[in-house]
């Protein structure tokens, strides 16, 4: 089971409330799908500038693995107030610790509710269904 202290998007980002901010990252499932378990297979991550505002569901960045470029999607609308600059230089962190050290951005949300997102149990079912559909 994935951490139940946060919510999930069907595109495999996670969102966690931290005070009045929403911390955003991608799940271990996303990393595994992109990289086949080889941490060196993630080659590039393009994160937005601090200060940019995003809509819910809007692409805020992109990540490239050896064989695919994928969008990163915002779980909530708001202003991006911090990015994890370490990630762009150390993509292996996404493989090693996607839940904590591997956070990508922090958003000051227009509305802090995460009720529109999946909880850990629903996300677990989502990825199980995706794998067996």
């Amino acid at each position: 089971m994935r951490p139940d202290d946060r919510k999930y998007l069907d595109s495999h980002e996670w969102a966690k409330l931290d005070g009045d901010l929403v911390v955003v990252g991608i799940t271990d499932f996303a990393v595994e799908e992109l990289s086949n378990g080889n941490e060196g297979d993630l080659v590039y991550c393009d994160l937005p500038d601090v200060g940019r505002t995003v809509d819910q569901g809007e692409t805020f960045g992109e990540i490239e693995s050896v064989k695919a470029v994928s969008d990163l999607n915002a779980p909530v609308a708001g202003e991006i107030v911090e990015i994890n600059q370490e990630i762009e230089e150390h993509l292996e962190t996404l493989s090693e610790d996607p839940w904590k050290k591997g956070w990508l951005i922090k958003i000051k949300p227009a509305d802090p509710s995460l009720d529109h997102l999946m909880d850990a149990e629903a996300y677990e079912k989502h990825i199980t269904d995706a794998a067996s559909a």
């Binding site: 590039y44 393009d46 490239e64 695919a68 559909a133």
Partner: protein, 269 residues
């Protein structure tokens, strides 16, 4: 045609570099549509940069009059008369592409290798841990940088070399899988494997037909001809403009050595 599920096929021969890219984006964005295989060639010939490539990291780009940037990653490709470009636009949860990215490559590459075999190319395989004679540092070219999943075959020299380049874009539950199959050598891509290099003389249409048959068998689908709608063509023209826009082609990309270099077993080189 073989299978129950149906894919569309769109053929656009001799298209402009901007329309080549714009129509692929329109197909990627076409949520809810059937999986689409597109076969195309370019006129004039052009150089396409990978999405995250710095223009300056591709020496040939400075010399070429027609440069576009793809939405897919990887290295630069010379699209000339000796090349068939294909794309597959498909939902990410389609059985053909469901699951980890590398598995989707293995399935698609299996079909491409079957197509190559049907044309008479012998010994095509995914590179795996083998060394690849076409790997060449400093050019920024896709065909000079192989990964373990890339399709190679013994070229003119007899040494294993890369002959097919592929890359994916994943967006909004959709996938665009780009591919380039080399029919003949380009002066910008020396040492690579080509069909003519192993005595197989086939044009883009013949290779495309072989690819259709192989994909039908591999994915148990029927692939039927389809004309891009007027709306899709218009979207391709409209979206295509940005691909040759200097702001996009020369966009700032942070230089970063590929994690895969130098070569290591089981990973890209």
């Amino acid at each position: 045609m073989t299978g129950a599920a149906t894919w569309d096929i769109v053929t656009t021969w001799g298209v402009s570099p901007t329309f080549a890219m714009g129509l692929d984006e329109a197909l990627l964005d076409a949520a809810g549509s059937r999986p689409t295989l597109r076969l195309y060639t370019w006129d004039p010939d052009a150089l396409s940069l990978g999405y995250f490539q710095a223009f300056e990291d591709v020496p040939a780009a400075a010399e070429h009059p027609h440069v576009v940037r793809r939405v897919t990653g990887g290295g630069a490709i010379h699209h000339d008369a000796g090349e068939l470009t294909f794309s597959i636009a498909i939902d990410a949860d389609d059985p053909a592409y469901r699951g980890p990215v590398p598995r989707s490559y293995e399935r698609t590459h299996g079909a491409i290798m079957a197509a190559l075999a049907s044309l008479g190319v012998e010994g095509a395989r995914m590179r795996g841990d083998a060394s690849c004679a076409s790997d060449l540092s400093g050019t920024g070219m896709c065909f000079h940088d192989s990964t373990d999943l890339d399709i190679c075959w013994p070229g003119e020299s007899g040494a294993l070399a890369k002959g097919v380049g592929t890359a994916q874009r994943r967006k909004g539950g959709r996938i665009l899988h780009h591919g380039s199959i080399k029919l003949a050598n380009s002066h910008l891509e020396e040492r690579i494997a080509t069909l003519s290099g192993v005595g197989v003389e086939a044009d883009a249409r013949e290779v495309g037909a072989a690819l259709v048959r192989a994909l039908e068998t591999a994915f148990d689908v029927s692939i039927g001809p389809s004309e891009p709608s007027a709306e899709l063509r218009a979207a391709g023209e409209r979206l295509g403009a940005r691909y040759a826009d200097p702001a996009f082609v020369h966009r700032a990309v942070r230089a970063r050595p590929r994690a895969s270099s130098p070569p290591r077993p089981g990973s890209p080189s």
